[in-house]
Amino acid sequence: MTVTYVGVRHHSPACARLVRRTIAELRPAHVLVEGPADFNDRLDELLLGHTLPVAIFSHHRDGERRHASWTPFCAYSPEWVALTEGRAAGAEVRFIDLPAWHPAFAGRSNRYTDAEERYAEATGRLCREFAVDNTDALWDHLVEIQDDDGMADRLAAYFDLVRGESAAGEDDTAREAYMARWIKAAEADAAGRPVVVVTGGFHRPALRALAGRAAPEKGWPEVPRPPDGATGGSYLVPYSFKRLDAFTGYQSGMPSPEYYQRVWEDGPQAAADALTEAVVRSLRERRQPVSTADLIAARTLTEGLTRLRGHRAPARTDLLDGLVAALVTDDLEQRLPWTGRGPLRSGAHPAVVAMVRALSGDRVGRLAPGTPAPPLVHDVTAELERLGLDGAGHVTLDLTGEPDLTRGRTLHRLRVLDVPGFRRESGPAGGADPVLEEVWSLTPDGDRLPALIEAGAYGATLREAAAAALDGRIAAAGPDMRALAAVLFDAALCGSADLSDRIALALRRGIAHAPDIGALGHVLGTVLGLWRHDRVLGTAGSPLFGAVIDGCVRRVLWQVEGVRGGPAPADLERLRALAAVRDAVLHAAEVIDLDRAAVLATAARVSADTDAPPDLRGAAFGLCWSLAGATGAAADPERAVRGAASPGVLGDWLAGLFALARDEVITAGNGSVLAVLDELVGRLTETDFLVALPALRQAFAFFPPRERETIARGLLERRGLRGSARSLLRTAAPPELLAAAAELDLRATTLLTTEGLLKDPPP
C-alpha cells in the first residue's frame, strides 16, 4: 500500500514528531495536509520565513451569512511540519480540505478545533477508565508523555476507538468525501511511490475506508468556488499563543502552547524545569511569597505525581498539580482550570493565574516582509502617512475645518474597526455638545496589523470597511435603542451617516420593536441634535437620521398610549422622551410622516385617560399645550390643574407638565396655573402637604433658578408682601431635614391631641 495515513491531533508535538519521522523514512512523492485547498497555489506565501505562530485568515460574505475563520500554525503543528518537511524532502505538498467559506465550516472559527467534542462519549469513557480529569490529561497520558516507539500504532488505536462505529455529522462527511478524492488523485499520480496523508486523527479511519472504496480520480479534484455575488478571501495574519490557548481563546485546540513549544524544542523534563522557574519568577514579581521550601515541595510533588501516574517524565498536569499543591495555601473559589476545559474565569487564585499564564506564553508571530496583505492594509497605511497620523503621541484636532475633520474621521473609522493603538482622549460627546476639539493618543501596537488584516473582511478601503462595520452594528442593535444611539453617533463621527435602503429597513424594524420609552427618547434626543445642528460633522439634514427621528416619534407615541398604572413616581426618562417628541414635531416636521393633528389627538387622549400614570398625563397635557399654543386651540390649564389636585398625584402630574410646557406656564403668568397651584397648596392639610412635598420639589426642579425666582416674586406679590424673591428660595437647612422636622412636629401634635393633652387639633 502506497498511501500512509498519519492521524494527528492538531497542535500536538508528539504527532509533529511522528509526521517528521514518517516523511524522513518514506521520502514520499506527495504530502497531503488537512487545510484549505483554495490556498494551494499560494503555499509559497506560507513558507516565506515567518515567525510563528501565524494563521490563514479567511472571510466570506454573501446574501445569507458572514463568516470569518482562522487556520493557525505554530512550530509544533503537525500540519506545519508536514508542509515544511514535505517541501524539504522534495515532495509535492497540497492542502486537501474544503475551503474555509464552505458551508461545512459554518459556525466554526478555528479550522483546527479539536474534534473530540463531537465524540465526547467515547473520550469520557476513556477518562474514567484511566482515572484522569479530562481529554487533555488523557491525551498527555496516552500520547505526549509516551515514548516515540510505536507512536503510529498507538495513535491509530486511540482514534479508531474514539471514532468507533459512530457516523460522522453531515459537515464531516462532506469534508471527508472531498479529502478522499484528493487522496485518490495523489495515489494515481504517484504511480506506486509513497503518499503521506496528514489529517486530524478522527478523519483517518473514515478516509482509509473511503479511499479504499472510491473509484480512481482522473486529475486533481476541482476546488469549489464561492457562490456568485459573494465576497471573500484569505490572507496570512500574525497569530499569538494567547489566541491558541484553550484557556483564553475561543474554540481552540490544545491548551498551554508555551509548554508544548518547549516540549517540542527540549523535551518534557526541560519544559517542566523551565516553566517551574517561570511560574516562581512571575509570582515573586507580583510579590506573592514563594519560599525555597515551597519550591522543594513543588519539585517533590511533581516528581511523586509523575511516578504515581507512571510517566517517564513530568506531564503538563503533573507539573501543574505539583505546583498548585505546594503553592496554594488557601481554599480555592473555583475548580482548577486544567481539570475542566474552557476559559479561565475571573476570580481565580493568583498562583493559578500565574501558572496558566506561564504555560500559555506570550509569543506573538510576525509575517515576513513581502507577505501579501489585503487592500485595506495598504489603504490605511497610505492614508495614515498622508494625514501624518503614522507616528506616536498625542494629536489635537480642530473640528471646524479641514484637514483635521478628515483626520478625525479616519481615526474614528479605525476605532470602529477595533484597530488597537488609536484612543480618543476627549471630544464632543453628542450632537449638541459645543466641544470643537478632539484629542487622540496614538500608540504603535503589535496587534495593529492582525486587526487590520482581519478588518479587511469588511471592505477594501477604510471608508467602506468602517461603513460595513457600522451597518453590521446597526443590524445587531435591533430593538436595543441605547446601542443604536451609540452606533448612530459613531456613524456621524466617521462621516458615514448616509443611508442605504437596507439599513433604513433594519432601523425601522429595530425601532418598531423597541420596548423602552426612555431608551427611545435617548435615541431621539441624540439624533435630533445631530440632524438639526450638526454642521461640524456634516450630519445636519442627513436622511439616515431623518428616518430615525420619524421611527422614534411614531414608536414613542404608540408606546405612550399603552402605558397604564395608578399614581407612581414620575419617570424622568419617559418625560424626556415626550419632550424629544415635542422638539421633533416642532423642528423636524418635514421628516415626520405624521401630521401635528394626529400627535395632538394622541396627547389629548392620554391626558384625559384616568388609567394613565399622572406624570404621563401631565406631560401629554403639556405636549398639547405647547404644540397647540401655535394654533391657538389651547385647553384650559387651570381646570386641568384642579383635576390633578389630589396630594398623591399633584407633584407627579406637574413634573410631566413642567417637563413639556415649562415655558408656557411661565408665560401664562402668575394669574393662571401658578395662582391655582398656590391656592391648592395653601389648602392642603399638613399631612397631605408632606405626602405631596417630594414630588412637588422634583416637579419644580424643572425650572432653572432664574425662573424659580420669577415664580417666587409672583407669590410675594400675590400676598402683597415686599422682600427679596431670591431669599425665599434659599433655605437655612437642607430640605430633607426640614421635611423630617415637619413630620416629627406633626406626629407629636397628633399624639398630644389623641391623648387629650392639646385642646385644638391641628388643621
Binding site: V132, A325, T339
Partner: protein, 363 residues
C-alpha cells in the same frame, strides 16, 4: 457486638475485601510505613473494575493523586470545601488505604482541648503510681505518631487557634514531648507512615484565621461540588436508593423526580440556571449530601403516607425543612425559585413542582 449491629463500620471494615484484593495484587513499591502502594491506594478510591474495586469518590481523580502524593511527603493534607462535599468521606478512605486504619480521629470543635489531641492521664493510676506509661492515656495524635499511622483531624478550624497550633511541632519536627515522663519515654518520635489529614469547611470560620506557621505545614486541596449533572444524579440516585432500602421503603425513587430535585439543588447552589439566568443563592448549604437527604425524605414520605414513590409535591414539603432550615429569607428565595424558574420548564414533574409551590410554609 457483631459487625451487623454496627450502624456504620469504618471504611477498612466496610471495604475489607477490596483492600485485601488490592494488597495481594500490589507489586508497586510502598512508601515506608504505608499499608498499600500509592497506586493501589489510588485505585482503592477511584475504582478498579479488573479487581472489582468500586469507585468511592466522585470528583476529579487528580485530587486523589495530589492528596496521596502529599501524604507521602512531609507535609500534612488539608481538605477544604463547602459542607457536604464528602471531605470527611475522602479523608476516611485515604486513611483506610494508607494506614489500614481510619479510626484515629480527632473531632474538632469549640471545646476541643489539647488532651483530646495529644494525651491525657488515668487519674487513679496517676495518683497511685505517679506519671508512667501505664497511667498515660494516649489520644489519636500520640497513637498515630507511635504507630506510624495517619491521623484525621475533622473540622480543624472550629478549634481555638492555640489548640490548632499544638500540631506545629508534631508536623514539623515529627516529635511529641511528654514532659511528665522521664527517660526515652519523654519524647515520642513519629514512626514512618505518620501524617495528618485535616478537614475544614469554608462556611464556618474558614482557613484564613489559621496561623501562617500551621498553614505552611499543610498542602491545601479544595474539594468542589460535583461538576457534572449526570454524575451527581447517579450518585444521588444510588445513595438515596440505598438509604430508602434501609428505611424499609419498597419503592425505588423515580428518576424524573430525582432529576428535578438535583437540578433544583444545582441551580440554587450555583446561583444560575442551566440557561444562564441568575437565581438567588440561599445561605443554606445546597450540597449533594443534602440532596441525598431530601431524596431519602421524599421517598419515605411517598411510601409511608401513600404507598408510592415520592413525587414533586413531596420535594417541596421536604425542601422547606432541609434547604430553608429556619431562615425566612431562604424560604423566600426558595419560593421565588419555584415561582419563577420552575414555571418555565417543560416536563410533568416541573409542572407538578410549580403547582406544589403553595405547600411551602408561611404566607
Amino acid at each position: 457486638m457483631t459487625e451487623q449491629m454496627v450502624q456504620r463500620p469504618p471504611a477498612e471494615a466496610r471495604f475489607a475485601d477490596e483492600l485485601e484484593r488490592l494488597r495481594q495484587n500490589d507489586a508497586a513499591p510502598r512508601p515506608p510505613g504505608w499499608a498499600l502502594s500509592l497506586d493501589a491506594a489510588r485505585r482503592f478510591i477511584v475504582g478498579d473494575d479488573a479487581l472489582g474495586v468500586r469507585r468511592k469518590f466522585v470528583g476529579d481523580p487528580s485530587l486523589i493523586d495530589r492528596s496521596l502524593v502529599t501524604l507521602a511527603t512531609s507535609r500534612g493534607l488539608m481538605l477544604v470545601g463547602e459542607p457536604g462535599t464528602a471531605k470527611s468521606l475522602l479523608s476516611e478512605l485515604i486513611a483506610a488505604a494508607v494506614s489500614g486504619d481510619s479510626t484515629l480521629t480527632i473531632q474538632g470543635g469549640a471545646a476541643t482541648t489539647e488532651d483530646q489531641i495529644k494525651y491525657s492521664w488515668n487519674y487513679a493510676l496517676l495518683v497511685a503510681e505517679g506519671p508512667s506509661t501505664r497511667s498515660l492515656v494516649p489520644a489519636p495524635l500520640l497513637r498515630g505518631m507511635a504507630e506510624g499511622k495517619v491521623v484525621r483531624f475533622e473540622e480543624i478550624t472550629r478549634c481555638p487557634l492555640e489548640v490548632q497550633d499544638s500540631l506545629l511541632s508534631p508536623l514539623s519536627d515529627r516529635v511529641l514531648a511528654v514532659p511528665e515522663l522521664t527517660g526515652p519515654d519523654a519524647m515520642v518520635f513519629a514512626r514512618e507512615g505518620f501524617n495528618v489529614i485535616a478537614t475544614a469547611n469554608t462556611r464556618d470560620r474558614g482557613v484564613n484565621e489559621m496561623s501562617a506557621a500551621l498553614k505552611r505545614r499543610f498542602n491545601f486541596e479544595t474539594v468542589f461540588p460535583i461538576a457534572d449533572f449526570g454524575t451527581e444524579l447517579e450518585l444521588v440516585e444510588a445513595e438515596a436508593a440505598a438509604l430508602l432500602e434501609r428505611s424499609g421503603v419498597q419503592a425505588a425513587p423515580r428518576r424524573d423526580v430525582l432529576e428535578v430535585l438535583v437540578t433544583t439543588f444545582r441551580e440554587l447552589r450555583s446561583g444560575s440556571t442551566a440557561d444562564g439566568r441568575p437565581t438567588e443563592r440561599p445561605s443554606a448549604v445546597m450540597s449533594t449530601a443534602e440532596a441525598v437527604a431530601v431524596a431519602h425524605a421524599v421517598g419515605v414520605r411517598g411510601w409511608f403516607l401513600r404507598g408510592e414513590p415520592g413525587d414533586a409535591a413531596d420535594i417541596v414539603e421536604c425542601l422547606a425543612g432541609t434547604a430553608a432550615k429556619d431562615s425566612p429569607e431562604d424560604l423566600a428565595r426558595l419560593r421565588r425559585y419555584l415561582e419563577q424558574q420552575a414555571s418555565r420548564r417543560g416536563g410533568e414533574q416541573w409542572k407538578a413542582l410549580h403547582a406544589a409551590r403553595h405547600r411551602l410554609p408561611g404566607r
